[in-house]
């Protein structure tokens, strides 16, 4: 579904998503916003689109080439046509193809007339005028309201086409709007549905059966941001630590701030700091006070947090840093996705300053990933970086809601007493140091960024001590228990495809297609980047060939080579776009057949 940024495409898309999920299909979605707040209406730069992929079987990605495109204006058509394959169906809002609009989109002539759309199934629907007609008799509805409701008309058409339940959407409309707007939206939606049913234009209604393979449980749709917010709140509830979230707005990370800022009811404290340095420092200061300190940002902000993260390494206090990766160095392409902060997360601090790094692999998995990041931070008294990205943060999928009671326990295990002088840099079996928070009588102590003596934590310039502390800090991180890497597919396949982060679904989908075509390919996915699972090296060596696809220039491949001396092959894509299943399929075949 594509239209002008003012056309409400994201709204229509998410309504369709909900209806689809509740219907019981598996799905994945991908919104695509323009970079400008309000790019000039009607231009290609101003197009906002929402892609959804759903089926009765396990859906892994938002799909690569859509089967149906809804184009609300010429610019939307122009921007999205390259994504389609011949044969796809295009529903256009015919009313929007005025000469002016056509030119504004950069077409010389109307693409509806000049053969541009040859090979596609084109359905011309005068959506604007049909919407207007449907609502014009309603009390108090202005023509502006009518204009604004055409996204719901389109939604109605689509809902009919795919036989989605209408009640979910109607309930949502009545819950969300009031008065004339409610009436207009309802009328538009119903008009769209009826148009589908009655018009001869649309000849085939598509039935997508419910997905019968899914695990039993209660589900909801979440995007990565929502799942992350829930995961953090869950970690706060389960650990008993107040959540203090310090952040400075930055696309695409700000949405997490927005989501958490609303959660006063769960005791969440968010602070919009003056900058990213302060945001990280506030989270760290809160951690000193016994809170679950969390900060979230994107590339440029991660740069700025570097020094504070190093301080956290030295203080050995829990801190969760979430990096929602976006494309490019410097300001780059803030509204596009990439996975190019991996080496920075691992090594981007001065001195030897090791810390655990995790990555989220799907929207729903963000919950688990951030919960695990918090658990590690608290258990091991260490900053942890969780790598997410714009793609995983914004796309959504059905999520099987866990039971609070069944979540792994998190025990902050505060030190409250001491026999003899309190030694803040002694260690437990995990090599974690005691966490004694202000307010605890008798355990007053001072910590800071200078090197400290093993045990006492006093300032120390002793060389041997520094070597020992350096090793202890590294051993602590590398000793974190992480689950073994699992192979999906045959253990003796000809090729292993190893990914990390948000490409999980794409790689699985690509490999599935190859397997369906008879190719012998296995996949595995890294969720822990430091430390890596203990069996990683052994697994890599088991396969003749290992392909490592990433949305960067080969950062994980580099790291695997260094750690395991295995000649992995890198497939790097740096286009600000997620990997596509078809692309993976092709790359896998290319390797299998060479």
């Amino acid at each position: 579904m594509a239209g002008d940024s003012g056309d409400g495409m994201q709204l229509a898309g998410s309504r369709f998503t909900d209806a689809t999920a509740i219907f019981g299909n598996d799905l994945a979605t991908l919104p695509d916003f323009p970079a400008e707040i309000r790019a000039p209406a009607g231009t290609v730069a101003g197009v906002s689109a929402f892609q959804i992929h759903f089926a009765s079987r396990d859906i892994l990605t938002p799909g690569d080439t859509p089967d149906v495109l809804v184009a609300m204006n010429p610019a939307a058509l122009k921007a999205n046509l390259p994504l389609l394959q011949r044969g796809a169906t295009i529903l256009v809002n015919e009313d929007a193809f005025s000469v002016r609009a056509v030119q504004k989109a950069g077409y010389a002539e109307s693409p509806l007339e000049d053969g541009t759309l040859e090979g596609f199934t084109v359905k011309r629907i005068p959506m604007s005028s049909l919407t207007t007609r449907a609502v014009e008799d309603l009390d108090g509805v202005t023509s502006r309201d009518a204009q604004k409701a055409k996204n719901l008309f389109a939604l109605g058409v689509l809902s009919w086409l795919y036989d989605r339940p209408t009640d979910v959407t109607e309930r949502w409309i009545t819950g969300k709007f009031d008065g004339p707007v409610e009436a207009a939206n309802l009328a538009a939606f119903r008009a769209g549905w009826s148009f589908g049913e009655t018009s001869e234009l649309i000849d085939v209604q598509v039935k997508v059966d419910r997905n019968t393979e899914v695990l039993p449980g209660t589900y909801r749709n979440v995007n990565g941001t929502e799942a992350t917010a829930l995961g953090l709140i869950a970690a706060s509830v389960k650990s008993g630590l107040p959540l203090v979230f310090g952040a400075y707005p930055i696309t695409p990370a700000s949405d997490l701030l927005h989501a958490l800022a609303r959660r006063h009811d769960m005791g969440v404290r968010t602070i919009q700091a003056e900058d990213e340095i302060a945001a990280a420092s506030m989270a760290l200061g809160a951690a000193f006070g016994g809170a679950l300190g969390v900060t979230c940002t994107s590339g440029p902000g991660l740069d700025l947090k570097t020094e504070t993260i190093g301080l956290a390494v030295m203080l050995e206090l829990p801190l969760v840093i979430i990096d929602v990766q976006r494309a490019g160095p410097s300001t780059g392409m803030p509204t596009k996705t990439e996975q190019s902060d991996l080496l920075q997360a691992l090594y981007g601090r001065h001195g030897e300053s090791p810390l655990p790094v995790l990555a989220a692999s799907s929207p729903g998995q963000c919950f688990e990933a951030v919960y695990e990041a918090a658990r590690i931070a608290i258990t091991y008294r260490t900053p942890v970086i969780l790598l997410s990205d714009l793609f995983v943060a914004n796309s959504s999928e059905p999520w099987r809601i866990p039971n609070a009671a069944s979540l792994p326990p998190i025990d902050p295990h505060f030190r409250t007493t001491s026999t003899g002088a309190f030694l803040p840099y002694t260690r437990d079996d995990n090599l974690a140091r005691p966490w004694a928070i202000p307010g605890t009588p008798g355990l007053q102590h001072r910590i800071g960024g200078l090197e400290k003596a093993d045990g006492t934590g006093a300032i120390s310039y002793d060389g041997k001590n520094h070597a020992r502390m350096t090793k202890l800090r590294a051993d602590k991180v590398d000793g974190i228990e992480v689950p073994d890497l699992e192979i999906h597919g045959e253990a003796d396949a000809d090729l292993l495809v190893l990914g990390w982060g948000s490409s999980y679904g794409t790689i699985r989908a690509g490999a599935r297609r190859v397997r369906e075509g008879g190719g012998r390919v296995a996949t595995a996915h890294l969720r822990h980047l430091r430390p890596m699972p203990k069996n990683t090296g052994a697994l890599l060596r088991k396969f003749d060939r290992v392909l490592v696809p990433e949305m960067n220039s080969g950062q994980l491949a580099h790291e695997l080579r260094a750690q395991y001396l295995v000649n992995v092959e890198s497939y790097g894509k740096v286009q600000g776009q997620p990997l596509l299943p078809s692309e993976m399929e092709q790359e896998i075949w290319r390797r299998l057949s060479s």
Binding site: A21, V237, M266, R269, E274, G289, P438, Q444, R446, G448
Partner: protein, 326 residues
């Protein structure tokens, strides 16, 4: 642990050896603070000293309270985070003129505008001590230092003017060696509900000796110190025909009002001396009430947290449209 009523100076002395240069003004401040703190009646475990980097920053190690020696300039941000998590602590930030006004300038002004409940002690020695003698943002024009061998070309900040311009609710100035005045100012800062900025003129005998002699010297100090006392006339300060404050005689004496809502008065006072080598106001320039950042919120969130159990979490996770597959 000493019970609150019996606290003494010794309860605030940590076992760390002090490592400042002989004669450093920091010793005097440390002694004054350690002597004063028992009076607050707050047990040491509920006090936190947060500091940045610099000679002054070492202060945190010497107080037998909780302490966090942070990174350069970020003390106010660390303290803001701590204050947001805990409203049961007495939080003090120790910072230098470089730490607070150069690299940390932004955090300082934001902590002040937010009125975060932390007390900021700015040790102003008009030089970078720890890095061995470069110009600081309070070094006077023309000052020759290692980094400005031909004299500094940058006009200095007046820390109090800056703080007042940043919406500070409590602004004061005192002197390292003044054993009466310094605790009196700290007392008022501690009593203030929001953010308090206390500038302490601190002598650095190694890299900037004598910078404050005009005020520290017993004899010159008597002449040059203009004590500000709320409700009292300010010695030597009069109003011009056009309403401006100035030093001198020939005009009605000005009565000090630290509680004036409009900061313009405190600002005008801060401009009376541009550098501490002549008559200079000392004391509390401004002390007004304004809602303290998040003070209600902290209690509200604590209450919410008390109810945030597994059931609440389950309800939250299950909010919105859900469906069940069995």
């Amino acid at each position: 642990m000493a019970a609150t009523e019996q606290l003494t100076k010794a309860d605030f002395q940590s076992n760390q050896e002090t490592r400042w240069c002989p004669g450093c003004g920091d010793y005097a401040v440390l002694a004054a603070v350690q002597s004063f703190f028992p009076e607050l009646g707050i047990p040491p475990e509920r006090i936190v000293f947060v500091s940045g980097i610099g000679c002054a920053g070492r202060f945190a190690y010497y107080m037998d309270t909780y302490g966090m020696h942070g990174i350069h300039g970020r003390g106010p941000a660390l303290a803001t985070g701590l204050a947001s998590a805990r409203d049961d602590l007495s939080i003090w930030v120790v910072t230098g003129d470089g730490d607070a006004l150069s690299i940390g300038g932004n955090h300082l002004i934001h902590a002040l505008r937010r009125n975060v409940p932390v007390k900021i002690l700015l040790f102003n020695n008009q030089i970078y001590g720890l890095t061995k003698g470069q110009a600081s943002p309070t070094s006077e024009l023309g000052k020759v230092t290692k980094s400005t061998p031909f004299g500094s070309i940058d006009a200095p900040f007046n820390p109090l003017s800056l703080a007042i311009g940043a919406e500070a609710t409590f602004v004061a100035r005192t002197i390292d060696t003044d054993k009466q005045h310094l605790p009196a100012v700290l007392r008022a800062a501690a009593a203030h509900e929001g953010a308090a900025l206390v500038e302490i003129y601190q002598n650095c005998p190694v890299f900037n000796d004598g910078a404050f002699d005009a005020l520290r010297d017993k004899k010159r100090g008597e002449v040059n110190r203009i004590y500000l006392e709320h409700g009292e006339p300010i010695r030597g300060v009069v109003r011009d025909a056009d309403g401006a404050l100035r030093l001198g005689s020939g005009g009605a004496p000005v009565v000090h009002d630290a509680h004036r809502e409009d900061p313009a008065f405190a600002f005008a006072l801060s401009r009376l001396s541009s550098s501490p080598d002549g008559p200079t106001p000392i004391g509390i320039f401004r002390d007004v009430r304004r809602p303290v950042s998040g003070s209600d919120l902290t209690a509200e969130l604590a209450a919410a947290r008390a109810g945030a159990d597994d059931a609440a979490l389950d309800a939250l996770m299950r909010s919105g449209d859900t469906w069940t597959i069995s």
